[in-house]
Symmetry: C2
DNA sequence: ACCTGAACACCGTTCAAGT
DNA sequence: ACCTGAACACCGTTCAAGT
């Protein structure tokens, strides 16, 4: 009845993270438990604690796994508007693939370490856009809020429930246009 | 040792919600349990189930309690920009008073029922701002995302951890300016 | 070294029995 | 009607004992 000894291979970290991600996608972060993960890996629940430092550490690794798969836009010479749009799409794509994990990560930022990859990329885009140095922090945080909130609303469904038969992709494009126009508030401030 | 019979009064819904809110503010939504709430009310844990339909229903009531205390801006003849700003400040104030509840509510929108109060008020403001009817849904959802994301980031601390010694209030004002400028993307679309 | 059973301190919730 | 004890089906995690 109980899970028997693991089949040969000694349970790699990659296997643990990948399986956890699969369970999260299927049943949500709330539905993941160390015990269920152990069953899925055909292993005694307590064996996991020899490879992971606890549930929080496990979730951190899974977040890192997903973050590594983001395909952020290159720093090419495309117009900054396009790169901004591409950054948003990359995040949305990932969030649609792993909704429950994104929901969790956004409520528990300590688990992702403030997403270095994404925000550094955003900073480079804003620099190209000619944002005043004084306002760069404000601009980054504001765009962070907009993107974060959009993905949150899309993931929870709050955005859809707000009525209006509008297509989600269409709304997202509108939000990007809004952001591009909004950035003028920062560019003009010292003019 | 165990909690004895309740002291006289027969445990009103208001008392339950108010006590739950207090516990949430003190120890987070995650830290609230039916059992702890019962101890706090000096009642047997199972007695609660005669007055509330379960933990989810309890959280719904607590959210409604907090939503009722929002002081949203009046529909006066102040400029729409000011009313927009005031709407944002009202939400931020509430979120700062009850951070854990807001965090929970934003990840579980089913618990708030899409916040009718706030979004109806926002719609009225946008109407005053002269947004095209075609774009109103997009505009509302975009502002929803921005406000929601800002409060999320402020509540979790993700916004602060992004470096920059910028004052939070200052960043919020900058975000409102950004939003006001961004709305021009909607106003010009049919011109 | 690696694995494991039992145990601890929790959960939300059900249900039959009490008053 | 209202309350309650015991119980069920879960959690994450510790720890001493096994191989």
């Amino acid at each position: 009845m109980a899970a028997s000894a693991h089949r040969g291979a000694p349970l790699t970290p990659e296997e643990i993270s990948a399986t956890a991600l699969r369970l999260i996608d299927a049943g949500g972060v709330e539905g993941l438990s160390m015990r269920k993960l152990a069953v899925e890996l055909d292993v005694n629940p307590m064996s996991l604690y020899h490879h992971v430092d606890g549930k929080t550490a496990l979730l951190q690794r899974v977040c890192a796994l997903v973050a590594g798969r983001l395909d952020l836009p290159a720093d090419d010479d495309a117009p900054w508007q396009e790169r901004l749009r591409a950054l948003g799409h990359a995040c949305r794509r990932s969030a649609r693939r792993h909704p429950s994990l994104w929901l969790y990560a956004q409520s528990h930022p300590e688990v992702t370490g403030t997403d270095h990859l994404i925000w550094r990329a955003l900073d480079r885009i804003l620099a190209t856009a000619g944002i005043d140095a004084d306002d760069l922090v404000h601009a980054r945080k504001t765009l962070f809020a907009l993107l974060s909130g959009f993905i949150l609303g899309e993931t929870t469904g709050a955005l859809d429930e707000q009525g209006g038969a509008a297509d989600r992709d269409q709304t997202f494009e509108a939000a990007v246009d809004f952001a591009i126009a909004g950035l003028s508030a920062f560019r003009k401030s010292t003019a």
